[in-house]
């Protein structure tokens, strides 16, 4: 299939680079559905007669596969270009839904694990990194803005998938008007089939719209010397294999891990947390279920808008400084939340909103940070390896929060004080991330790729 090759996607003269962000967004909006699985979680529990944990495993497998496939397939994505990567991602993502629907119709939960979890998860990982290096090459003047636009889509995908899935489930289930209605397994199966077709079409639009810039292309008026003026920004290139040998890669990994772990701590517990924070001595809460649902929605908006706004801001401030804000100011806000969050709902909501916007910002700014440190050569592959920090944080964040809360009492009887140990642990993590980010310095020249007339005497060893 030569029409998918990188060589066939080189932009002709006059191509408008602003066609590239919607192509990237098309893919990220589709794979962002991964954060809308709660819509049919209860329906699957009932359909399979399984526990919440057994159904939750579907999502966990998908996120682990996201990290693994991004890390393993990153170099392949960089070598083969964005069109082939998006096409492959679409095939895996849609196949995941098809296999998953087969599992639902045939009452085989393992098929849902294999389909949505494993196959779909591979589609998630390839899709997530597929447009990143292309965007950075099209927008050397605003890499943070460009990757922020795409990665914002991952946050936005859930905002679309959630109401659309609810509407489709109601349409497919004749009993949807009944009191205490839970969608039938058959309607979830039909939903999966619909999503497979719609997402395949949308992602194909992205695959066939995206183009890579011709060798040496630069935007009009762009002066590389201005970018180079920042001390951390390199014009050299480092391969993915060498990047993981550098101290800088692991410092950024730690910074991202700490930022994501802290954010997930709030996101995972958002709805019960606001109710617990405003629990009265008689056991009732000032925050109703509707208020809690509104709070979760507000956090989704904060997560999505933070991805775009903070990443775009990093083009002005520099990547290291914006990470100091995410981690340093984040630690301060977390402390206030832990110690004074229960004094006012307005204060609580405002603090959580900003903290979650930092969480999203950390994700979206990471590719541009890697570009600054390692150049554009294999930035997609390096980004793929960095995403293992996300997988690790996905395990660590909920584990920390749940372990502390389990020790404090049972759900429904917790209050603001119950959350203090977990939140203050997150503050400690953010401080560790802050220090790691502070230690980031330019990459040593021995890791740079050879240029014409300059050879590297030997393969660089792991940096001590």
């Amino acid at each position: 299939m030569g029409w998918l090759d990188r060589e066939r996607t080189i932009a002709p003269p006059g191509f408008n680079r602003w066609l590239v962000p919607p192509a990237a967004l098309a893919v990220h909006l589709c794979i962002g559905q991964a954060y809308a699985t709660s819509v049919y979680k209860t329906a699957l529990v009932k359909h399979f007669g399984a526990s919440l944990t057994e159904i939750g495993v579907i999502f966990s497998i998908a996120i682990v596969m996201l990290g693994l496939s991004a890390a393993i397939m990153g170099t392949w994505v960089d070598r083969n270009g964005p069109r082939k990567a998006m096409f492959t991602s679409a095939a895996f993502w849609a196949s995941g839904f098809l296999i998953g629907s087969l599992g639902i119709f045939s009452h085989q939960l393992w098929l849902v694990y294999l389909g949505y979890g494993v196959v779909g998860g591979i589609g998630l990982g390839i899709g997530y990194i597929s447009p990143v290096s292309t965007l950075i090459k099209w927008f050397p003047d605003r890499p943070g803005l460009a990757t922020g636009m795409a990665i914002m889509g991952f946050g936005g995908g859930a905002l679309i998938a959630s109401p659309v899935s609810t509407a489709l489930l109601k349409m497919y289930d004749p009993n949807s008007g009944a009191k205490g209605w839970v969608a039938s397994g058959e309607s979830v199966g039909k939903l999966f089939l619909t999503l497979a077709v719609v997402y395949l079409a949308y992602m194909m639009f992205g695959a066939f719209t995206i183009k890579v810039p011709a060798e040496g292309w630069q935007p009009a008026g762009f002066d590389p010397a201005k970018v180079k003026a920042a001390s951390l920004v390199t014009t050299e290139n480092v391969s993915a294999r060498n990047a993981v040998k550098t101290r800088q890669f692991w410092l950024v990994w730690i910074a991202l891990f700490c930022n994501v772990t802290a954010g997930i701590g709030i996101l995972e517990q958002a709805a019960p947390m606001i109710q617990d924070f405003f629990r009265q001595p008689d056991g009732t809460s000032l925050a109703s279920a509707a208020v809690a649902a509104g709070f979760v929605g507000l956090l989704s908006i904060g997560n999505m808008s933070g991805r775009f706004a903070w990443s775009a801001t990093s083009d002005v401030t520099g990547r290291k400084r914006i990470y100091m804000v995410y981690l340093g100011v984040g630690a301060l806000l977390y402390t206030v939340l832990a110690l004074a969050g229960s004094t006012s709902t307005v204060l609580y909501v405002a603090l959580a909103f900003v903290i979650i916007s930092f969480y999203g910002g950390g994700f979206a700014t990471a590719p541009a940070y890697l570009r600054d440190l390692f150049g554009t050569f294999q930035v997609g592959a390096i980004h793929g390896r960095l995403l293992t920090a996300w997988s690790a944080a996905g395990v660590a964040g909920p584990l920390i929060v749940n372990a502390f809360l389990d020790a404090k009492g049972r759900p429904g009887a917790l209050n603001a004080a119950s959350y203090q140990p977990a939140l203050l642990t997150m503050v400690g993590l953010l401080v560790i991330g802050f220090v790691a980010n502070l230690l980031v310095s330019p990459v040593d020249a021995r890791f740079h790729e050879p240029r014409p007339g300059r050879v590297r005497s030997e393969e660089p060893a792991l940096e001590g």
Partner: protein, 42 residues
């Protein structure tokens, strides 16, 4: 080929369609979410 590339044909129609294809669903998702958020301030 290191010269700066200025768009020769802005392909405005294509640009509008491409952005609408992603912008309209995203705007719908944000609107639906904001209606839920309203409960927070109601």
């Amino acid at each position: 080929m290191s010269s700066a590339q200025t768009p020769v044909t802005p392909s405005t129609g294509k640009l509008v369609i491409a952005w609408a294809l992603v912008g309209v669903p995203l705007a719908y998702g944000v609107y639906e979410t904001l209606t839920r958020v309203a409960a927070l301030f109601g």
